[in-house]
């Protein structure tokens, strides 16, 4: 039995109402018919949510507000972490983390952003939150906020890999509170793929070949550090990068594809760092998380960071 790293007390998510097919993006993104077939047929990305008329605050605040409203005592939220994948989400003189904190009425809290692990920043923020809380007052909490807008064609796609949609998620992290027990967190970075844009086809192929074996290794390590085996994991709660990445990863792991929750891939596509939290909340709302069973959240950030986090579901106050 491994020690608890922290507790996910509440997780909420939000998607804009407007939903479109990926075909609607073919022209603005300059996607050829074969590229579109790659995304729809091979990668399984069908629709995404997107509201070009709303702001980043409109996207991230609804989920974060619901978490704050349900917090045992919002005054004990000591830190607000805005974890984002895109490095430049706002002009340099705009402090988004502080803006989110203030809009939530949490001016007493310290606010900062995490971004360097790209889409893996969200799970990384849970680990940072647990470390901030360690050895502190048990009543203290950290609010982790994710969600961003693909504001340019360059950001809207990961070439040949994903099309990005809009969703936000927020979670409240404590140490020893009531909710899902975080049992392990593993992160591994392959710095040789740090070039985010303009990788040559040869470099991209090397990254492609390393992706599934590296993710599988990180998953196995997280499971082992939790004192568990893969057979103990009820479901993998993944990022929504695409179906093919997960088909390859489950083949590496030697598990069935139905052990990974992939229902949201065609619906939401890849929503930056928010995916594992969105998928967690979808599963919980569908009654698919079972008290006392173990789950594994996983996410990969370009650049390239592979993360996995195991948890044991405890209903507690977690909705």
């Amino acid at each position: 039995m491994s020690a608890s790293l922290g507790t996910l007390e509440r997780v909420e998510f939000h998607v804009p109402d407007r939903r479109l097919t990926i075909e609607a993006l073919a022209e603005p993104l300059g996607l050829s018919r074969p590229k579109l077939s790659l995304f729809r047929k091979v990668h399984g990305l069908h629709t995404l949510h997107d509201d070009p008329d709303s702001s980043l605050f409109d996207l991230v605040l609804p989920a974060a507000r619901r978490v704050v409203e349900q917090a045992p005592d919002p005054r004990r939220i000591r830190w607000v972490i805005y974890a984002h994948a895109i490095h430049e989400v706002a002009p340099a003189d705009t402090d988004l983390a502080a803006g989110i904190r203030d809009a939530l009425g949490l001016r007493h809290a310290e606010a900062f952003a995490l971004s360097q692990q790209n889409c893996a920043s969200g799970l990384g923020a849970v680990d940072v939150a647990a470390q901030l809380l360690r050895d502190g007052d048990a009543a203290d909490r950290v609010l982790v906020v994710t969600g961003e807008k693909p504001h340019s064609p360059l950001i809207r796609t990961v070439p040949n890999t994903a099309i990005m949609g809009e969703a936000s998620a927020a979670c409240l992290v404590s140490v020893g509170g009531t909710g899902d027990t975080v049992r392990s967190y593993v992160s591994h970075t392959l710095g040789e793929y740090a070039q985010l844009v303009g990788m040559s086809p040869e470099q991209a192929a090397l990254y492609g070949k390393a992706y599934a074996p590296t993710l599988a290794d990180v998953v196995r390590q997280a499971v082992a550090e939790a004192g568990l085996t893969l057979a103990d994991i009820d479901l993998v709660i993944p990022h929504n990068v695409n179906l093919m990445a997960w088909r390859n990863t489950v083949a590496e792991l030697g598990i069935s594809q139905n052990r990974v929750f992939l229902d949201n891939v065609p619906r939401y596509s890849h929503c930056f760092a928010a995916d594992p939290f969105v998928n967690y909340a979808s599963l919980r709302d569908a009654g698919r998380l079972v008290e006392g069973r173990h789950y594994l959240m996983a996410c990969v950030g370009a650049g390239a960071t592979f993360t996995a986090l195991t948890l044991t579901h405890r209903r507690g106050d977690t909705r």
């Binding site: 074969p34 091979v42 086809p201 040869e202 192929a205 090397l206 492609g208 070949k209 093919m244 088909r247």
Partner: protein, 88 residues
């Protein structure tokens, strides 16, 4: 190897690899020699769906068919509709 299919494979690979690919030999290995990965193999197949009139099921592929240009063209010859192979 079927010359029509090889020409279509060269055209598809030129698109995927963003450089002109000509003179493919049967022995050329897709992953090691042409530096493809599973995603670029699939992208190539999506190009070939259009040019050869084939239908690919990504869930039911045998990667043994994508070891070399020879195994790839043999696979494509099996799944391509006959009219596509006429007039070569």
């Amino acid at each position: 190897m079927d010359k029509h299919i090889v020409a279509q494979v060269e055209a598809a690979l030129s698109e995927v690899l963003e450089r002109e690919i000509t003179g493919l030999t049967e022995e050329a290995r897709l992953l090691e020699d042409l530096h493809l990965d599973s995603t670029s193999v699939m992208e190539m197949l999506m190009h070939l769906e259009d040019s050869l009139g084939i239908v690919i099921d990504p869930e039911n592929l045998d990667m043994e068919d994508f070891q070399s240009v020879g195994t790839l063209t043999a696979y494509l010859a099996r799944v391509a509709p006959e009219p596509q192979l006429q007039g070569r």
